[in-house]
Symmetry: C2
């Protein structure tokens, strides 16, 4: 679709780069924005910009954060004896929504995946091990997707933790095998935190 305006074309192309947004949808979104007030579009534009300029990564758990220390790590009411290891930011939010967990998190930023060329060094495993050795929590909980990459990552980390006196658990397999963590419903996810089982490599 050749657009008669470069400005329009640019905006459509940008939306078209987003996952799951085709050209027709991109066009529809741009036309929607065209009908909005300038201040609203300005706000949208600023919100996007701030994602890269102002958003920080928590220096403890690597969660997206407005400060150098995220709200969860700052919270004195959280149980510091538990670290829940997750793949990504949205996994933290999914678990928070269950309101079944009051410990801390560790965001790996990915899973070990030899197929995609992602080794243990590319994700925040070293950092997790350092954190465990300093903070000496009682328990590390693997809340990773129930697929090959999740299992590989849990296996690798559990091996590194073998010599440390720490409880290592994993979400109960109430989560459908092969499924992505972020799409699990809240009840299943909440129950699977309660029913977590000792990790067996």
């Amino acid at each position: 679709m050749e657009l008669p305006s470069q400005i329009l074309q640019k905006a459509v192309e940008q939306f078209n780069t987003l996952p799951g947004i085709g050209k027709k949808t991109a066009m529809r979104l741009v036309l929607h924005l065209l009908r909005q007030e300038e201040s609203d579009v300005n706000e949208f534009s600023q919100a996007l910009l701030r994602l890269k300029t102002d958003l920080k990564e928590c220096r403890e758990c690597h969660m997206a954060s407005d400060d150098h220390l995220c709200m969860i790590c700052q919270d004195r009411h959280r149980n510091r004896a538990q670290i829940c290891v997750v793949q990504d930011i949205q996994d933290v939010m999914a678990i928070e929504n269950t309101m079944q967990y009051r410990g801390l998190y560790h965001v790996l930023g990915g899973l070990i995946s030899p197929m995609d060329g992602i080794g243990p060094d590319q994700i925040k495993i070293e950092d997790l091990l350092r954190r465990v050795s300093i903070e000496t929590p009682e328990e590390v909980i693997f809340a990773l997707s129930a697929n090959m990459e999740g299992d590989t990552t849990a296996f690798y980390i559990s091996r590194q933790l073998k010599d440390i006196n720490i409880r290592v658990s994993v979400l109960s397999r109430g989560i459908s095998v092969g499924g992505q963590l972020e799409y699990a419903d809240e009840i299943t996810l909440g129950r699977s935190i309660h029913l977590r089982t000792p990790y067996q490599a």
Copy 2:
């Protein structure tokens, strides 16, 4: 979903205002942008901003344009004896894609819809009539959605043109009745321009 970061929350809320984008999808899009380079997100942000700051409306046909006169109105090879009346910008692009029409356009910016409180004064009908009286084209073609609002708008305009010696035609009803113009396939839409029939109120 309560997000642990205001910046993240803002960006998700903004995407959530777009039509057809729910909270989970908004979150997915934001996380996608988070993984992009700052320069790419910057470009996205700028493209949105320019939609309101730099994009103009063609003073002739009201099409979105980079200049005060759009590329179609500027084009000396277009047939100035034909004006195709459409509802919206995307309808112009849908017809341009068929490559079956070489005349000019007139973008109404809406359709008469008493249900939504949109009367003839809220859309660019007065302007069309003025254009017809000045430019004296041979033909006005209604390319409006085949629903009540489209029919009402065509009827209203045709009445205003009754006393002028001008051919008034309408897209052949190859387009499914009740359907939106922008979703018609290119062949159907192209054929319906060729097979346009004299307008009968």
